[in-house]
Symmetry: C2
Subunit: 279 residues, 2 copies
């Protein structure tokens, strides 16, 4: 199937984990009712985005948030990119996205590869690495709809990351994200548009709704960009569900008419990942 | 000197090579009078941008356009990124930018590395490779003001290219370019903003002024973007000179506050160029 619908969930995040799970489940069901075949939740959707919260909210794989997502995927018969949650594993905490197929099988798991450690004068200060460890894998997942990629938030800043996904075959990339009130207005749109266009993929960004009382204020503006770099849907800062049409045939058309992936000078430059040349 | 002015020339291009050279010389002098320390001309500023023209207008290195630029750099005491012209060398034609220092010495030469062969339904059709051959080198040039990079137009589409320049030490990248009426409105701004920000460099794009009667209609919109991804100057479609302030200290500040170049996961991925790992 080369045409399908993606549902992008922009949900409020509160300090009660069960309330966050309930919100996610309710919005997933609503997106599925609206015809979504794939649903994407935001980054850290079960935990207010603050470094000190990550160890407190962390669950090991198979915990209650994991199980709730697994059931939601199967019950709604949707592929679910489960945003991200803090994951505990062998004493370390990761910013992790679990991805389930329409039967509830885990088909992908991405741990945020680039940690967000910034200190902008008059703007955002944040040090993810105080409590988080990074993942070490680029994440692709194969579905009945096609081969897709996943990253989390800051991963999208690094052209190498999305490049590795697209060269490896992804035609749609899902990015649970939470830009803030410094980087959101400054960079969100052009970052998503450029990454989508240069890799000739659909790029989906799902963010938490804005809460001006939070320690970290999400920009919101969940977005979907076409492989031509056009914004095909974007929310404002409030809670909402964005449903967009994905046409994998259009990916092929753009790659045929404007064949940038073929025009890469791989005779001169190459990207390696974990010691292997990316084809 | 960490603060200087860049002058960006958006000039009309006609079918008479001498008239184009005269226009360029006059606008270079004007930019220098306005305080520009570095001046950048547009892509194919001496030749209407059509594949069949490139062999006709081509000069070998040291030809009259080269000599005119060399003199202009020395006479105006400016560093000159000489846009690009068709260069003939051993029976091949290249899209070539000659770069001169303030004494008229050739300090850089870039041959467009990525040739523009596209065929967009309802939009642009162009096949540079019909008459042009590509260059095989990423171009850095060292000046009294700092280490800079150069590319030409389509090179900016490929994140690998600007990445190689920035990792190699460039803090400002100059891009003679000529987007068209399909790709200009669709991609020009976000492409420049994202490349500048992700590499934390100033990015300068110089385009020909628009001529709606031309075979290839330039979008114009010559642009300068800061390392934070802000547009610090942009022209419309008409002939003009854009003068912008460049602050290399600001490059360092952005790289310190939002240290994306350091956050690259070079333990996992690397870019190679001509068989060597780029540091």
């Amino acid at each position: 199937m080369s045409n399908f619908k993606a549902g992008i969930i922009q949900m409020p995040v509160v300090d009660k984990i069960d309330e966050n799970i309930d919100t996610a489940l309710s919005m997933i069901a609503s997106a599925a009712e609206q015809g979504a075949d794939v649903v994407c939740l935001p980054e850290m959707f079960n935990c207010p985005y603050q470094t000190e919260n990550f160890p407190i909210y962390a669950e090991s794989q198979g915990g209650k948030t994991f199980k709730a997502l697994q059931s939601a995927a199967a019950e709604n018969h949707i592929i679910l990119v489960g945003g991200s949650i803090p994951e505990e594993d062998k004493g370390k905490i990761y910013n992790t996205s679990y991805i389930f197929d329409e039967n509830g099988w885990l088909i992908g798991k991405h741990r945020k590869m680039h940690l967000y450690d910034v200190n902008v004068e008059g703007g955002i200060h944040f040090m993810e690495s105080l409590t988080l460890s990074p993942g070490n894998e680029a994440t692709l997942f194969d579905t009945k709809l096609g081969l897709f990629g996943a990253g989390i938030c800051y991963d999208v800043r690094f052209p190498e990351y999305t490049r590795i996904l697209s060269i490896s075959g992804a035609k749609v990339v899902f990015l649970p994200a939470a830009f803030n009130m410094t980087s959101g207005p400054a960079h969100w749109e052009f970052n998503f548009r450029c990454r989508a266009f240069e890799n000739q993929v659909y790029l989906i960004g799902a963010a938490p709704a804005r809460d001006n009382t939070a320690g970290y204020v999400s920009y919101g503006h969940s977005i979907a960009v076409s492989p031509w770099g056009e914004i095909i849907g974007q929310l404002d800062e409030k809670p909402g569900i964005l449903i967009v049409d994905i046409d994998l045939g259009y990916v092929d058309k753009i790659r045929d008419e404007f064949p940038m992936l073929k025009h890469r000078r791989t005779d001169l430059y190459q990207i390696n990942m974990n010691g292997k040349k990316i084809k």
